[in-house]
Symmetry: D3
Subunit: 69 residues, 6 copies
């Protein structure tokens, strides 16, 4: 499967904080901390757990750029 | 300024492909290629050009996770 | 590849309206018209053209619900 | 009310999994399963329940395309 | 039509900068400047022009909060 | 820090409804009610509470326009 999404960052799950509907999945991407908020259903279906290797996929239109003043 | 957005990735602008309304800004984040689609107005106001240091800011709710099957 | 995104709709490309940075890709999903705005780079890399079979992938957090009043 | 959002998919609520802040609303769109994560406040205000007819509204910029390969 | 989206801001169109695929629509919301990037198709179908009264609709999950500091 | 995001609306926190993973933060923006769904981690790190002054930051690509029919 190939995706139109331009941002695909390899990472590893470091922790999961799950509520009833949404879980925050914390990732380590080569030293950079990332967080993905996804449904608890997706956590279960993908079998995500500490140590799982994933790709963080982000559309180019979702990225904001910031500059130091 | 502090942001609620959980994903803040330091990167450097490598190229800008600008249309009339939107520009695709290509970034290098420590070896990972990223792309941000932002308004041409923002490119101009932030003074973005090849080599500019930026932070790619992404809300946790915008991140999709993928696993190899 | 498996995705956390909960919405995955099979569709066929019916037309592409490309600008310099972004292209609007029109889809037919079993009779429902869909439109995806993606980068022109993605159109090229995925080899999208009239008739290409695709999956429209949408995170659950991006879906708004409307009811008739 | 007319909306700029290009994707408007008629569907029916099949189940609601509500947490404290967010609810995942499962939909059937003519045989395709969809999920919308919305606030519990919106579920209450729109009176959503199993069987409610809704429109799933999605901006074109939120749609990722995937191809087999 | 009622929407699950929690943010609905009345505004007036002040200018439109249209490219081939996407247009940036500039709004005045009671003195606050807003910008919406939407498809040129939507601009045409909604008949948007300088002076048109609109509602800017934004999902709660799309809002980032920033604090000074 | 300067942001590419075109929509930056000053507001004040009026209430916070927190679940396990996500909190809905209710805002007053000069009389307009806004809601932001953010991670509970962000609420804690930014020290958000009733009365906190914030900026609601929204990308132009996340804004849908609606017109009265």
């Amino acid at each position: 499967m190939r995706l139109s999404a331009r941002n695909q960052i390899p990472a590893r799950v470091t922790s999961i904080n799950a509520g009833e509907a949404i879980a925050n999945v914390e990732l380590d991407a080569n030293g950079t901390r990332l967080v993905a908020s996804i449904t608890v259903e997706a956590v279960r279906e993908l079998g995500l757990a500490e140590g799982t290797e994933v790709i963080a996929v982000i559309k180019a239109s979702e990225v904001i750029l910031a500059t130091a003043d």
